[in-house]
């Protein structure tokens, strides 16, 4: 944290503060500078841990924003009513700016990218699509793979409809969507559909929709050994044979 240029700038600012005009500000920037930097470091670390846990469990970002921003704004309002304490409001918000510094940003970004990358979610074929909330994605894909789906393709989208009709309350509805596309064989449809439906909690309002459509033709690479295996006749008793 001491390597962050913004912290160094705060220390320089402390040297030009008049102790008679802003005693609390002077004390924080001079006598308690190390303690203040330590508290900033703990705060940034705590935020990074919370962000990491959020990525892992797929929690929504909005509750975090509401639970941190609203008390902060309330505290700012209360501080502004005290003539001596109001002088440290600028320092308090500037300390938050340290998270956008040239040292902290690369560290936090790479941490986020690493966490997301490692932990983040006959007959004719039928394709299943799902448009779901961000948090449910990994559970749905895992459920589909457990039941036999080979893979999934995911792309991002923006949803509209209910949100626009709710006015201000629409802010509580997540706009970002993820669309999952899975191809399954005809005889797997019901099982995969049901598993994905349950895993994604799609019976809950706002969790998304899912639909199945018939495909005329599918083409992909099939290894030659599998083609040869499929071409071989099945040896043994077949149900219905009497011989």
């Amino acid at each position: 944290m001491f390597a962050e240029p913004a912290i160094g700038a705060l220390k320089t600012a402390g040297s030009i503060v008049d102790v008679n005009q802003a005693p609390y500000l002077y004390t924080l920037l001079n006598d308690w500078a190390d303690v203040m930097v330590l508290v900033i470091g703990i705060g940034v670390g705590f935020a990074a841990v919370l962000g990491t846990i959020r990525f892992i469990y797929g929690w929504n970002l909005k509750p975090f924003v509401y639970l941190t921003l609203l008390p902060t704004l309330a505290l700012t309002g209360w501080l502004s009513t005290h003539p001596e304490l109001s002088k440290i409001i600028g320092l308090a918000w500037d300390c938050g700016a340290v998270t956008t510094g040239p040292v902290t940003v690369p560290l936090v970004l790479s941490l986020g990218i690493g966490i997301v990358a490692s932990a983040g979610k006959g007959n004719s074929s039928l394709s299943g699509f799902g448009i779901v909330m961000l948090a449910s994605l990994d559970d749905i894909i895992k459920a589909a793979q457990e039941i036999g789906a080979q893979g999934a393709t995911i792309y991002y989208a923006r949803g509209g409809g209910v949100r626009e009709r709710l006015g201000v309350l629409g802010l509580a509805i997540e706009v970002e969507k993820e669309v999952i596309s899975i191809i399954v064989a005809t005889n797997q449809i019901d099982r995969v559909f049901e598993k994905m439906f349950i895993a994604g909690k799609l019976d809950t309002p706002g969790m998304g929709i899912m639909y199945v459509t018939h495909l005329d033709k599918v083409a992909t690479y099939i290894p030659q050994e599998i083609v040869d295996k499929l071409a071989k006749p099945i040896v043994g008793n077949v149900a219905g044979n009497t011989g």
Partner: protein, 112 residues
């Protein structure tokens, strides 16, 4: 507005292929309704899985609305142009549309 029998071809390619295919579709078949989206693929075997990067890889989704009478020909054309018949070459499928508008570029007179 013309509503003709059309089909939707959807192709999931590795990153970097879709744009070339889209250009060739425009040049050779005069297709105007070709879209490309970025996506990520999750599977049991991915190109970089041996590096421990995980089961995800970057993909591009190309969708094209094509006339029904040309659907098989265009499907085969894309299959060969994108070289889908190789490991991790991608996946493509086609299904019919109940109705879709066909956009035709208007015939504009040459400027003198």
């Amino acid at each position: 507005m013309e509503l003709a029998a059309q089909k939707l071809i959807t192709c999931i390619f590795p990153k970097g292929i879709a744009l070339d295919v889209a250009k060739k579709l425009k040049e050779n078949y005069d297709l105007m309704s070709v879209d490309i989206k970025s996506a990520r693929g999750i599977g049991k075997v991915t190109p970089l899985g041996y590096r421990g990067i995980g089961s995800q890889s970057e993909k591009e989704i190309l969708t094209a609305i094509v006339p029904e009478e040309l659907s098989n020909e265009i499907f085969d054309y894309i299959y060969h142009e994108a070289d889908v018949n190789r490991p991790h070459g991608g996946l493509m499928y086609i299904y019919p549309l109940i109705s879709a508008t066909r956009y035709i570029v208007p015939d504009l007179p040459e400027e003198e």
